[in-house]
Amino acid sequence: MGMLLFLLAAGLTLIFGMLRVINFAHGSLYMLGAYLAFQVVNVTGIFWAGLIAAPIIAAVVGALMERIALRPVYNRDHVYQLLLTFGFILVIDEAVRILWGLEYKQMYPPELLSGAIEMFGSSVPSYRLFIIGFGAAVSAALFFMLDRSRYGMIIRAASGDPEMVRTLGINVSLVRTGVFSFGAGLAALGGAAAGPLFPIELGMGFNIIIDSFIVVIIGGLGNIRGAVMAALLIGMTRALGYSYAPSWVDFLTFILLIGTLILRPEGLFSRKGRTA
C-alpha cells in the first residue's frame, strides 16, 4: 500500500512542485490507468502489456489536458486551476462510465506472481512483494532522473525560476507539459499496478486520492524524497493500526496529518530551498 501511495503522491507532488497546480484529477487519472490496463490485458492477455501501455496512454491524455486546458490559466488565480482540475474529474469519470460502464472490472496478477510466499510465519502474496520491489525501483529511477540527470536539473531550475530558464533558451512550456504528462503517467502506473489488488470501479480514484494528499502534505509539497518517506510512514502507521485497532486506522492517519500541520506545516521531510 505504501508503495502504491508513493506512485500517486510522486506524480501529485511533482506536478505541484513544478507547476504550482494542485491536481484534484490525479485520482481520476489513477482510475483511468486501472481501466486502461484492464482493457489492454483483456485484449492482449498479457499483464505486463497493460502495466506498460496504461501509463503511456494516460501520459498522452495528461499532455493534452495540460496543453489544451491548463496552459491558458497558469497566469490566473489559483482558484481557476483548482476549478479546472475539478472539471477534469467530471470529464474523465464520465468518459470512463461511457466507455466501460458501471460494472466492476477485474484484473489478475500474472501467473508468475499469483501465489504466496511463506515469510516470518506469514503467507505473503507474491504480487504484494512485487509491488514493493517495483515501487522501490520507480522511486530510485525518479531520484536518479531528478537529482542526477540533465532533465531533472532543467525541471528543478524551471520550477525555481522559470523566467531565468526561459532566458537560457529552454522551452519552459514544453517542460511543463512534460512534467504534467509524466505525473499523469505515474498516476496511471499506480492504477495499473493496483488493478489486481482492488475492484476496478468508478469510485476507486476518490478512495485513494485523499491518502495521497495526506502523503504529499506530510512529505512536504513538491518534495519527492518526502513523498517516499511519508508514503512509508503512512503505510507503516496503517499496518500497525490494522494489527491492533483496525477501526482507528483512519483516525491515526489524520492524527499524523494534523500533527504535521501543527508542528511542521512545511512537511516532515522538507528541506529549505528545495523543491521537486
Partner: protein, 396 residues
C-alpha cells in the same frame, strides 16, 4: 413602505400558488398511472439502478402496460446514490402527479424518501434497501418493502454457520452503524448457538488494505470468517484473501458478501465464498421461470438480484392497486397490508400489516464455476431458509 408591502404580498402569493401547484388536486379518473422512479444510475450504486429499471419495466410490460385501465407512465430519475438529489427528484415527481414512488437503492436515500412520501401520503415501494429501520412496527404508513432486511440476512448467516458445523468464527465488519449492529446481532446469536467468536475487526468503510487483517485471521484456528461487508469492500477482501490463500483453510461467508456481479469482480478467488442471495434466477418455480425467460428474451442477460426484486415488488404492488379498482391511494395501502402473493418469483410472500415488511424465504448460496449459458462464476443456491426462523415477531 407600500412598495415593500406589496412586494412581500406578491412573493407570498407566488409561494402559495407554487405550493398549491405542487400538490395537484386528486383526480378521480386520471389519464395515466404515474410512477416516479428514483434510482441510482450514477455513483457507487449506479449498477443497481440499471437492473432495477429493467426489472420494473418488464413487470409493467408483462401486464400489458396498464393499471386500473390506464397506461402506466414511469419517469426515471437518477438519485446519484445520494439522499439529497433523491429527495429533490422525488419532490419534483410528486409535484408533477406521481401516484407512487419507486426506489431508492442505498438505505440512506430510501430513508430520505420516506420523509417526503409520508408527508405527501404517497406509497413508496422499496425493493432493495435492507436497513431494518426502513420497515418497523407502526413506523411508516406509506412505505412497503417487498425484499430482504439486513436482520433477516444476518439470521441466515447464523443458520448457515450452524448448518455448516462451524464452531470458531473470526468476524470482520465495515465500520459503520448498520454493519456494527449486524455484527453485534450475529455475535449475540452465535453465543446462544454455542459458536465461539475468536476475533472481531472493524475496518473503515471503503478500506483498501486487508492484508494485515487477513494475516491475523490466517494465524488463528478459526474455521470460518464472517464478513459483514458488501460491495467493493467485499470484493477487495476476497481478492486479497485469495492471493494469500485464506479460503483454502477457512470458510469465507457473509450475509451480503457475494452475488454474480460481485463474484465477477473478484474472479476465481470468489469460488467457495458463501453468501445470502436476495433473488436468484435459478429458484425453481413457475413464476420465476416465466420471468427469467421473458427477461432473457428482452435483455439477453440473466436477471441479477436487483432486477428480480424490482420485478417482483412492482408486479405485486400493481396487482394490488388493480385489485382495489380505486384511484384512492388509501385504498391501495389498506389492500397491500396483509396481502399475500402465492406466486412471487421467490415463492410465497406475505406483506405484514404491522411493519409493511414482506415475509419470505431466505436464499443462501455459494459461488461456483459456471458453464455456458450461465456466467463464468455463478451462485449455487445451497439453502432455502423459511420465514419463521428469519423474521422475529413484530415488536410493539
Amino acid at each position: 413602505m407600500n412598495i415593500v408591502k406589496s412586494t412581500m404580498m406578491g412573493v407570498a402569493c407566488a409561494a402559495l400558488i407554487s405550493v398549491a401547484g405542487a400538490s395537484p388536486v386528486y383526480a378521480d379518473d386520471p389519464d395515466a398511472f404515474k410512477i416516479g422512479a428514483v434510482l441510482p444510475f450514477s455513483g457507487p450504486y449506479g449498477i443497481i439502478g440499471k437492473g432495477m429499471k429493467q426489472g420494473a419495466q418488464l413487470a409493467i410490460e408483462m401486464r400489458g402496460g396498464t393499471v386500473l385501465g390506464k397506461p402506466v407512465e414511469v419517469t426515471w430519475e437518477d438519485s446519484e446514490t445520494k439522499p439529497q438529489p433523491a429527495v429533490q427528484k422525488a419532490t419534483r415527481l410528486i409535484s408533477s402527479g406521481a401516484q407512487m414512488i419507486f426506489g431508492a437503492a442505498s438505505s440512506a436515500s430510501t430513508a430520505a424518501l420516506q420523509g417526503i412520501t409520508e408527508q405527501r401520503k404517497i406509497p413508496l415501494l422499496v425493493t432493495i434497501s435492507a436497513d431494518d429501520k426502513i420497515t418497523r412496527a407502526n413506523g411508516y404508513r406509506y412505505t412497503f418493502r417487498t425484499s430482504n432486511t439486513l436482520g433477516m440476512e444476518i439470521r441466515m448467516a447464523m443458520e448457515y454457520t450452524k448448518a455448516a458445523g462451524l464452531k470458531k468464527i473470526y468476524a470482520v465488519g465495515a465500520d459503520y452503524a448498520v454493519t456494527r449492529d449486524g455484527l453485534e446481532a450475529y455475535s449475540a446469536a452465535a453465543k446462544e448457538a454455542g459458536v465461539e467468536i475468536i476475533g472481531v475487526d472493524y475496518a473503515p468503510l471503503g478500506n483498501r488494505d486487508y492484508s494485515v487483517i487477513i494475516d491475523k485471521i490466517a494465524k488463528t484456528d478459526a474455521d470460518g470468517v464472517v464478513l459483514i461487508v458488501t460491495g467493493s469492500d467485499g470484493v477487495t477482501f476476497l481478492k486479497q484473501a485469495g492471493q494469500a490463500g485464506l479460503g483454502k483453510t477457512k470458510t469465507l461467508f457473509g450475509p451480503v458478501l457475494q452475488d454474480e456481479v460481485l463474484a465477477a469482480a473478484v474472479g476465481p478467488d470468489s469460488i467457495g465464498a458463501a453468501s445470502g442471495v436476495r433473488y436468484h434466477y435459478s429458484f425453481d418455480n413457475p413464476a420465476n421461470k416465466a420471468f427469467v425467460e421473458a427477461y432473457r428474451a428482452k435483455y439477453n442477460e440473466w436477471p441479477d438480484s436487483f432486477a428480480g426484486e424490482a420485478f417482483d415488488g412492482m408486479s405485486w404492488f400493481l396487482d394490488v392497486v388493480d385489485s382495489t379498482n380505486s384511484w384512492n391511494r388509501e385504498d391501495w395501502i389498506k389492500a397491500f397490508e396483509g396481502s399475500v402473493r402465492e406466486n412471487s418469483v421467490e415463492g410465497r410472500k406475505e406483506m405484514r400489516a404491522c411493519d409493511h415488511q414482506a415475509l419470505q424465504v431466505g436464499l443462501w448460496g455459494v459461488v461456483e464455476k459456471g458453464e455456458a449459458p450461465y456466467p463464468d462464476l455463478k451462485m449455487k443456491i445451497t439453502n432455502v431458509f423459511q420465514p419463521d426462523v428469519l423474521f422475529p415477531e413484530c415488536a410493539e
